[in-house]
Symmetry: C2
Subunit: 168 residues, 2 copies
Amino acid sequence: MKELSVNGNNTARSVLSLLSEARLCFATAESCTGGLIGQMITALPGSSEIYAGGVISYSNDVKMKVLSVRKETLERFGAVSEETAGEMSEGVSKLTDADIAVSVTGIAGPTGAVPGKPVGTVCFGLTTKKDTKTYRKQFGENKTRDEIRALAADFALSLVLEAGKELS
Amino acid sequence: MKELSVNGNNTARSVLSLLSEARLCFATAESCTGGLIGQMITALPGSSEIYAGGVISYSNDVKMKVLSVRKETLERFGAVSEETAGEMSEGVSKLTDADIAVSVTGIAGPTGAVPGKPVGTVCFGLTTKKDTKTYRKQFGENKTRDEIRALAADFALSLVLEAGKELS
């Protein structure tokens, strides 16, 4: 898994290539991946053309204050929910005006599991000028923190790739 | 250099240990490291206690709009300057209310060098409730992008560590 998280992976390279060609740019709102997606894409020279940046909203405070996630959403659905993920991607979309905004919030472990949300549960938001979609994945309770984060980052980048294909 | 950027390094572990003990938390504003510092610290379980999150201000737009870096500062001194770095750490300090805020803006290469600022030039800002300090380092023109980013992330974490020692 190490290769995934160091020098960008194939998905990151595909995102760079497709968005450069289509002249689109994207932004990130990362909770459990904590900057991993940003680091994977910016490891690639040329990424400044297609990556605006984003917010690492590790605390709920930053989710609310910087990304405008509503307190009621966090209280009712929890930080790891499709509802929160959707507000995160909408928040960073507004902040950066990027064509595509992706968000990740999940339980990377080893602790943090709650009833109905075991370790490995990760939610995603994807906002374009058209709409916001949300996703929920279970990457496996027995995976390590590093593995779950790498899989989550890769899935988020694959969402950006799909959105880029649709928009271009 | 790979070990540095994957699972956090010794500096990241020292930051986690010291800030946990002292009940302090920090935030990041990353340009050329693009999320690497956030990813290094959040790779460590328990980091949510001491890391609020931050902003990946890869574009100048995000530097201005999210971190309140002044347009005049960017025009007069450039994105890679101690002046911009200081406004970045002050900006993320205000956004997150963290005890310690650190910023990084530099030229990781292979392109992007300008007269007087070769590849490897990286500026840092460090804001605490007390004051803001800025730093400029030259990590070496012949280093790779990965190496420069890893060295910059490590130096930023060492600044957080020093500030944490002072505050605790």
